[in-house]
């Protein structure tokens, strides 16, 4: 994939680009809520891409990934809200958030270096919860996080007089954030692809495939694993910062275990290791509940005259069913990594 794009690919790419640019205006016709939903979907895509580095590339099963999302969110919240009276601009906070989250990733990764698979999953799960509980309790004796009440009145992104939260003409706040998110997403995809196809990326995959052989081949597995944790976490930190700004409010309950599991499900469902698969998984899983919310209720009302099944219940049912089906029919994910697909093609031939 390092070669030049073919004409057909270029055309496809242009179509996708136009569609993505036009998307918020189309969605806005259905209601600004849909633009917001899309923004959250993009945030989840970012998170999934970050987790994909840890789980998909390096093969380290991380069940506490939301902790880094939380770190990024709180870094932004603390540095741009009346809570401490700090109002730094977002372009300085986002890198700080990424760095702090990356550091947290390395620090939390360090004790787990000898663990793999289920054991690693349990420990990271614990770390994820520890971070959330920290946020919950760090209001005493010094009020850092404001505890369960969370931090409010967080600054939106602002460049001079141009605020991302206010409407300016046809561009509503969410649409502005959408474009910003799209840019960040583009950058993250490029970074991911370049990493995947590099010395470091190969070392990650080598560790996933056979850690002992990787060591014997001269890879300092400790450093390379920490690097995977840190890189993955820093993407989570960036996503967290944007989450803070878009919401204007953070509290510990946004960072529960369920979110970690959801992000992991996006990675697994889409196809571990494959960037496009992970994106597809994240988009699918973040839109599905909203689609259900908007279709199940009216559909039931029209059919039976009243609500029989709560959309939330139905969502979990469909979600579980989809995962079971994926495991049965596409164990490597909907859109698996090329390596695995190549393998399947060969078997067919």
């Amino acid at each position: 994939m390092t070669g030049a794009w073919t004409k057909k690919e270029k055309f496809g790419l242009a179509c996708v680009a136009v569609a993505l640019i036009a998307l918020p205006f189309v969605l806005a016709m259905a209601g600004t809520a849909w633009v917001r939903i899309t923004n959250f979907a993009v945030l989840f895509v970012l998170l999934s891409l970050g987790l994909n580095i840890v789980v998909g590339f390096a093969g380290l099963l991380d069940l506490g990934y939301v902790a880094f999302f939380a770190v990024g969110a709180y870094v932004y919240a603390l540095l741009a809200s009346p809570h401490f009276g700090l109002h730094l601009p977002f372009w300085t906070i986002l890198p700080i958030g990424a760095a702090v989250a990356g550091l947290a990733g390395a620090v939390l990764g360090a004790p787990t270096l000898r663990l793999r698979g289920d054991y690693l999953a349990i420990v990271t799960l614990g770390f994820g919860e520890i971070v959330r509980i920290f946020m919950n309790n760090l209001s005493n004796p010094v009020n850092v996080t404001n505890g369960p009440k969370g931090i409010t009145l967080i600054d939106p992104f602002r460049v001079g007089e141009f605020s991302f939260s206010a409407n300016s003409g046809a561009l509503s706040g969410p649409i502005k954030y959408y474009y910003f998110l799209l840019l960040v997403l583009l950058a993250v995809i490029v970074i991911n692809r370049r990493l995947q196809d590099s010395r470091i990326g190969r070392a990650w995959v080598a560790i996933r495939e056979d850690e002992i052989a990787a060591k014997a081949a001269g890879i300092n597995t400790r450093n390379i694993k920490l690097l995977a944790f840190a890189m993955g976490a820093s993407f989570g930190g960036i996503a967290g910062g944007m989450f803070s700004a878009i919401q204007g409010f953070v509290s510990p309950e946004s960072f529960i275990l369920n979110e970690s599991i959801m992000i992991l499900a996006m990675v697994v469902l889409g196809g571990m290791g494959n960037i496009w698969g992970v994106i597809a998984g994240a988009v699918l899983l973040s839109f599905m509940p909203e689609l259900l919310r908007y279709t199940v209720e009216p559909a039931q009302k029209a059919l039976f005259g009243k609500m029989l099944v709560d959309p939330e219940v139905l969502r979990m049912l469909i979600f579980g069913f989809a995962l079971v089906l994926t495991m049965r029919f596409r164990p490597a994910g909907l859109w698996p990594e090329t390596r695995h697909r190549r393998e399947l093609d060969e078997n067919r031939a």
Binding site: S198, R202, A203, E209, A213, A216
Partner: protein, 256 residues
Amino acid sequence: MSEVLLQADGIGKRFGGVQALKDVSLTIRRGEIYGLIGPNGAGKTTLFNVFTGLYPRDGGEVVFAGKPLQLDSPHTVAAAGIARTFQNIRLFGNMTAKENVMVGRHVRTRAGVFGAILRSRAERDEEAAIRRRADELLHYVGIADRADDLARNLSYGDQRRLEIARALATEPQLLALDEPAAGMNATETAGLRQLIEGVRKDGLTVLLIEHDVKLVMGLCDRVAVLEYGEKIAEDVPDVVRNNPKVIEAYLGTSAH
């Protein structure tokens, strides 16, 4: 031929109550093919794993290329110039043959995260060099036509060759092969033998664990024999072959 490449002194290793290696000392000279044989469970692979930093040793020192060898982690051993293969082949199954070899270049290359993200000039040059070297090595071991196949789809013999190519990619001075001929048929073994001789001709030293006594005796310049974790002989093949202790170790003593 006579310069010492690796000097091991008094290597000991204990697993719980089992003394797997007892005070093993041996000398490998630069440019030779050094065989390590012994009955099953004699401690050959254990010694290998100690030499390559996979097992922590209980005692003893190793001097490699004139310097004390840091044995605490495999990657420092690889960096020092010892590369190995495994008895039960350990490849990166879901990577292509070429990528496997490219991973071997890791220890001799520098590019980090930022180089990769920015695709700096240095990084691109390095990547190109890595690819080039990987192609050369695949060609060298004779599997250039399988470069883009997944490692796990390669035939058994080709996997062995690929493992050697990956080891060679780390630019070792000593190539340590753990039973490379295990499970090979006669033709494959003959090909392997040619490959090992070629490696030596290109200036590398080879440490070889092997069960195929014919291969060892025909190929090695010197042979050490381990039994119950102790070295019982070390000499040229012809002398070792007639050493009563060695015969005893392999065949047992007569009843009277």
